[in-house]
């Protein structure tokens, strides 16, 4: 059971799509498919192989290519993939997606398969302990309703307990369901109609939802969700200087790997890192930066620097007074 195997190669995937096209293909159509699905230079490798017959997978008639495959081709599931599926069956989050009947069917189909891992083989030592209640029937129902709405661009009515204890009721379109590994929680990145006919983005914890119901109304226009997130980033990124002591550079690079960032070396032992973030991420990023102590130096932006200094100021006062 090899993970790095040619059967999972990107070229095989591109070729499968081309070969399952039962109509004749022009060279341009083949090239377009390769450019869309393959790597940047795949075109240079694949086209000559098809043209010179080394990959004798098509009949050629003039400029047209006809697939030699005779049926609607399905690649079977490999042992590695079966073992992976079997391992997923033991994950409590699987119940959010599959009905009891589906779980049993899959269990039966994989009865002779050894799972790739068991839950107890992994230990998340710094995960927060108040993860979402995946066993809770109301939670599961809300999750599934949100999933349906997200896929259909449909509005939902969400009855929500806000963090400050207020119960709120609003209409949203779920844009994405976001999972936090650290918190073991799902949140909904939801779009809400703003006053100026725009959509604004809000983040809601699924576990705080009392009830979610579908509304017979769909979003009538496309929203560029990534643009919405990117536009929310502050114009001035966080600028850090990292002194490469106590392995701080590697730790920082890994720690901030989930942010869009740009790092350059500015002298023998110092690196400058720009991190792009928005208001929602601000407190968490501040806490993460503080956790590195003096190994990181915040150079800007002014807002971030001010927040950090305020915390240090308060800290200094507390210790001075306490002693």
């Amino acid at each position: 059971m090899e993970l790095f195997s040619e059967i999972y190669n990107c070229y095989y995937q591109v070729l499968r799509h081309l070969l399952c096209t039962q109509t004749a293909l022009t060279k341009q159509q083949i090239a377009d498919q390769i450019c869309g699905e393959g790597f940047e230079e795949s075109l240079l490798s694949i086209i000559p192989k098809l043209e010179n017959g080394s990959w004798n997978l098509f009949h050629q008639d003039g400029d047209l290519f006809f697939s030699k495959l005779t049926s609607s081709f399905i690649t079977p599931i490999s042992d590695l993939q079966k073992s992976y599926l079997k391992a997923l069956l033991t994950d409590p989050r699987m119940q959010l997606f599959l009905s009891q009947e589906q779980l049993e069917n899959l269990q039966q189909m994989l009865s002779s398969v050894t799972p790739l891992w068991t839950q107890e083989q992994f230990y998340y030592y710094d995960r927060f302990i108040d993860g979402d209640p995946y066993e809770n029937e109301n939670y599961r129902r809300n999750f599934r309703t949100l999933l349906t709405a997200q896929k259909n661009h449909q509005y939902v009515d969400i009855d929500y307990n806000s963090p400050n204890g207020n119960r709120v009721h609003h209409h949203y379109v779920p844009a994405r369901l976001e999972y936090s590994v650290k918190n073991d929680k799902f949140r909904v990145l939801a779009l809400k109609n703003a006053r100026d006919h725009n959509m604004k983005l809000e983040i809601l914890n699924i576990s705080r939802m009392q009830n979610v119901s579908l509304i017979e109304k769909t979003l009538s226009f496309e929203v560029d969700f990534n643009a919405l997130i990117q536009n929310s980033y502050y114009r001035e990124p966080l600028k850090l200087h990292i002194i490469n002591k106590r392995n701080a550079l590697e730790r920082a690079m890994l720690h901030f790997a989930n942010y869009e960032k740009n790092t350059t070396k500015i002298d023998e032992n110092t690196y400058e890192c720009l991190i792009y973030y928005n208001q929602i991420m601000e407190t968490e990023l501040l806490i993460e930066v503080m956790s590195f102590g003096p190994m990181l130096t915040v150079i800007g932006n002014d807002k971030f620097l001010k927040s950090l200094k305020a915390r240090l100021q308060r800290q200094k006062k507390l210790i001075t007074n306490n002693h």
């Binding site: 049926s71 942010y259 507390l318």
Partner: protein
């Protein structure tokens, strides 16, 4: 660069390059001193080919600086999965792949001889019988084909029922779309969604650390060894000196940090009679050895020890068995009661006690309090006092604070 190939034979060498570009993302050609310029150029070209459009180029005075600009908040999948889809193959491999699987789609059982004949008549593809048999046996090992012996005859067949069931159940496709991004060995989930022509357009993962997929081959070997309760020989490259050493151990569990995505193998070293954690990205190869008789006993012992483990270190610098840390913080309730929630939620079993109005005390005993410092520092601005039986930890906390006051010119 006439011998440039986009696909590669073996993964380990490339793993190092991708990691360097991804993690550091600022090394120029001249900084890759341990490799020839030509190797650097070829690796860089491959990386640019595989991972375009995530490659970001800056032109500096000492050469072009390439890095991977990946913002996990904006992505539906891990772009580094593409690196796993680059295994090279021969012309015969790809032709046989499609023709043999196509020939067997209707569930017929065929011998290697019959397959060889049909390849010629149905597809005008001439192969010798040995080549066909070898491919069929290889695919049987991968689980793509079934092999049955009928008397002296060996027949091969194909079962697509599971693939069809998966393809027709949108809920399982949704589950795969989620787990490829959020779960262990997500690369396999991603292969499945590719194969079933389904794309994730629903899920995002916060705190997703894409680079760690590069260690998945090592992880797979380790999980297999743990499952078989065997001992192992690990080739480990020191992250500081770069020296490779072999360690003999009993692999017991994979420890994962949700804050950095780092993964560790927790293993028992018989020679030192100790538990130790090894970062997966420092493990270069894994060799399975004999079955361990005392495996259950070691697991039980590890479970017991884990209660006193903050992170991955089983002993502090001062070599005490256990160290006690007490942190007193100021919390203005009810406005800041989320801080008390944080202590309980993130405090890994430490006790939280209200000692006076707006004052809380957090207390814990662990093997290595030094590992706690990054978490302790997240409470800066609220800490009234910090005491630790490992005095070096206490000292370092206060010294670091002083350094920060100086750096940011914090006055009284």
């Amino acid at each position: 660069m006439s011998d440039f190939h986009e696909l590669i034979k073996s993964f380990p060498k490339t793993r190092e390059y991708v990691r360097d570009f991804f993690v550091y993302g600022f090394k120029t050609r001249t900084e890759f001193k341990h490799k020839s310029p030509r190797t650097y150029d070829n690796e860089r070209r491959r990386l640019e080919s595989w991972l375009n459009p995530f490659v970001h180029k800056d032109h500096l005075s000492n050469g072009a600086n390439i890095s991977l600009a990946i913002d996990s908040n904006l992505l539906d999948t891990n772009p580094l999965f593409r690196v796993w889809k680059t295994k090279s193959f021969t012309d015969n491999d790809i032709v046989l792949h499609f023709f043999i699987l196509d020939l067997l789609q209707d569930g017929d059982k065929m011998t290697a001889e019959e397959i060889t004949d049909d390849l010629l008549t149905e597809y005008e593809a001439f192969f010798d019988i040995q080549t066909v048999r070898r491919k069929c046996n290889a695919y049987q090992k991968e689980g793509l084909l079934q092999k049955q012996r009928k008397g002296k005859t060996v027949v091969y067949s194909l079962d697509t029922s599971l693939a069809q069931w998966l393809k027709s159940n949108e809920t399982i496709l949704d589950a795969l779309a989620f787990f490829q991004l959020a779960g262990s060995l997500g690369m396999i989930g991603n292969q499945l969604t590719d194969q079933l022509d389904y794309q994730n357009q629903t899920f995002r993962v916060k705190h997703s650390f894409f680079v760690h997929t590069l260690e998945d081959e090592i992880l797979l070997d380790l999980l297999n060894i743990i499952h078989q309760q065997k001992s192992a020989a690990l080739e480990i490259k020191s992250s500081k000196k770069g020296v490779i050493n072999t360690t003999y151990c009993v692999p017991l569990q994979i420890f994962i940090s949700t804050r950095s995505g780092r993964r560790f193998l927790c293993a028992y070293i018989d020679r030192s009679k100790r538990f130790t954690c090894f970062r997966l990205d420092t493990i270069k190869s894994v060799t399975s050895l004999e079955k361990t008789e005392a495996y259950e006993e070691l697991q039980t012992k590890l479970n017991r020890n884990r209660r006193q483990l903050w992170g991955v270190s089983f002993q502090g610098r001062e070599r005490h068995h256990l160290d006690k840390l007490t942190m007193t913080i100021q919390v203005f309730e009810p406005k800041e009661s989320y801080i008390v929630d944080r202590l309980r939620r993130e405090g890994r079993g430490g006790t939280v006690t209200k000692t006076a109005p707006n004052i809380y005390q957090y207390e814990i005993e662990v093997f290595d309090c030094n590992e706690m410092l990054p978490w302790i520092r997240t409470f800066i601005g609220r800490i009234l006092s910090l005491e630790c039986s490992a005095k070096s930890v206490e000292r370092r906390f206060y010294e670091d604070l002083q350094t920060m006051y100086q750096t940011y010119q914090i006055e009284e």
